[in-house]
Amino acid sequence: MYTEFVGIALTFGLAILLAIPFGKFIAQTFSGEKTFADPFFNPFEKIIFSVSGIDPTREMNWKQQLKAMLGLNFLWFGLCYLVLLCQGFLPLNPDGNPSMSPDLAFNTAISFVVNCNLQHYSGESGLSYFGQLLLMFLQFVSAATGIAAAATVFNAMKERTTQTLGNFYNYFVKSCTRVLLPLAVVIAIFLAFNGTPMTFDGKDKITTLQGDSVEVSRGPAAAFVSIKHLGTNGGGFFGANSAHPLENPNYFTNCVELWAQLIIPFSMIFALGFYLKRKKIAYVIFGVMTIGFLLLVIPTVVSEINGNPALSKMGISQTGAMEGKEVRFGAPMTGFWSIATTVISTGSVNGMHDSTMPVSGAMQLLAMMVNAFYGGCGVGFLNFYIFIILAVFISGLMVGRTPEFLGKKIEAREVKIAAFIAILHPLLILSGTALAAHFAASDTEMGYWLDGKASGWLNNPGAHGFSEMLYENTSSAANNGSGFEGLADNNPFWNILTGILLWLGRFIPIIGPVAIAGLLAKKKFIPESSGTLKTDTTIFGIMVFAVIAIIAALSFFPALALGPLAEYFS
């Protein structure tokens, strides 16, 4: 057991340690300072910009930035939707997998464009290698979209008054070439040498030692698995995601995959400190996030180690809650991963969340409901930014001063946007869950929307069944992508419902912070005085934490009480 904790501590520690220099590199990249990597990347980027006809030095205001971002994303959605609809006839399909149904293609295309990777199919039978490669493209560019949006907000937070916030395409392309691609190559090669396949051959038919005849799915998985973690995407090459022994062959690869999903979200926070030359603010933000993370991790790991009390009652020896877990990872690591993947919006799993203990399920849900501790590539910071704005506003009211953040007055318009974004998340989750629960409770005949009655989509009865629906909606709105996978979700009802939640849950929380930042950047800069509320102090950190806790607790407690808490107390 002791060695299992060593793995967790080493991975987490190394992610923090390496995030500091990497954050510095990201900050230098976005502020246009010279870095050691310039001679290598500059010619490569020059080619990309000149072939695409983009001038990366053209200054854009926040509206132009958002237009560029949304334009690209719509284009990718359309392209991906078409390919998934026709993949059965396209090349690179050795297993002869069929094209997707329109509703599944709609859900899958959105899901990968918005960096969620909610998968209502299994990779082995639901995608051709052509489809997998195109989704891998989206795993890069969706992560880069988030990082670029964060870079825009960083730029707006500088101490000056400006209309323009740099060039979106410049941030975006450099996120691809400098942040994502180099690490992706290294990790993909590491995985390939540890047993993850990287081949374009189809399924292999074998006769087992005992004499059974089975097939083994393969494919270009190493390249896919690497970016799925780095880009906090989380979509698995195979159905079982990183629980699959080819996708995550051993304990060491598991640590590397865990590290890969932590590194960029961690680095982005430190990058903010280096970018603004205010390291303290980065430490305060990172501290708040880490405390929130640990508060979710500890109960989860403890309840997973203790195992299922119902099985203890049967008299067997508990080695952790092993249902849905792999022996090579063990209960502590799987518990830790389940919170890392839900706090960060990765959503890859190395064990099945549906079979975890009720306390763990509650913590996984809470992690996605807050959605601001570390968070996904770039967007984690954007979500946290909203809470900062709200905390500044509330603290300003408490001490009776005009609220200011980094020398800019926060006024009605910014607070309205922030409040709207903060309320949107519970609104999407709870209305989606209410709709699904209504149908399931009255067991409606669903017609076009589902082949059969609504309760048929549940894999477990009672409170746990409710948790399955709550989890699916939460995971969609938080753009997470993990699931209580017992839910039968490949049908028009879930494909279309979650598709809409995914779209709204992605772009509105990007548009909001960029708009706030753009509006603030235009305002007059007020130098710090003795009357300024300092935002890089522990007290302010506690204030932000309180705002997050109150909003999450008030909005979500009733839903959690009906699901995992009811299961725990029964």
């Binding site: 691809c176 691609l181 390939a192 051959d201 270009p220 022994p245 051993n250 079979s355 746990h464």
Partner: protein, 184 residues
């Protein structure tokens, strides 16, 4: 925008995977997955568990996909699901019938619960050791010989990790032992 998208598709869908593919040619079995063979014939993939429920073999964990790696999945049963609990009780009973020399408290959770992928190649060392007596008897082998084989296959972490036994590799070596015939 279209041109930028096309350039990036060339980089990420062609250049990047081909580069990894090229390097992976130097990986075990050219990146097609590590295989195990007897006399040149493939009997399995090292990382992919196989179904073992016949006499003379060490048994692996229950699987939601019956160890057919054409797919992969866990059971996704919730911890309080009554049908699930009945199913586990049945597995415990069946295991005790096959191993009448065991007490209930000897049986570790992993051998009666399904894995996340349905393809878990491993069991815990405890789950392997409790099967030694049965396997030795069914193969007419010395218990001590089988036990030392299991001990040889226990993978212990040096710094970080879990203790595991790869059931397929264990059974493969068992199969190749001299005089290792399954008595009917």
């Amino acid at each position: 925008m279209l041109r930028l998208t096309l350039v990036l598709i060339v980089i990420f869908c062609i250049y990047y995977p081909l580069m990894v593919f090229g390097v992976a040619q130097a990986a075990p079995n050219n990146g097609k997955g590590e295989i195990l063979t007897i006399d040149g014939k493939t009997v399995g993939y090292k990382r992919i568990g196989q179904k073992f429920d016949k006499p003379g073999f060490f048994w692996g964990r229950p699987s939601a996909v019956d160890y057919n790696a054409a797919g992969s999945a866990g059971s996704n049963k919730g911890p309080s699901n009554p049908d699930y609990l009945i199913q586990v009780q049945k597995r415990i009973d069946a295991f005790l019938v096959a191993h009448p020399y065991l007490k209930k408290s000897d049986v570790p959770a992993d051998i009666v619960t399904a894995s996340g992928s349905g393809l878990d190649p491993h069991i815990s060392p405890q789950a392997a050791l409790i099967q030694v007596k049965r396997v030795a008897k069914e193969r007419n082998l010395d218990e001590s010989k089988v036990r030392s084989l299991v001990e040889k296959h226990i993978e212990k972490p040096t710094v970080a990790g879990t203790e595991t036994v790869n059931v397929l590799e264990l059974n493969l070596e068992l199969q190749q032992l001299k005089h290792s015939n399954i008595s009917k």
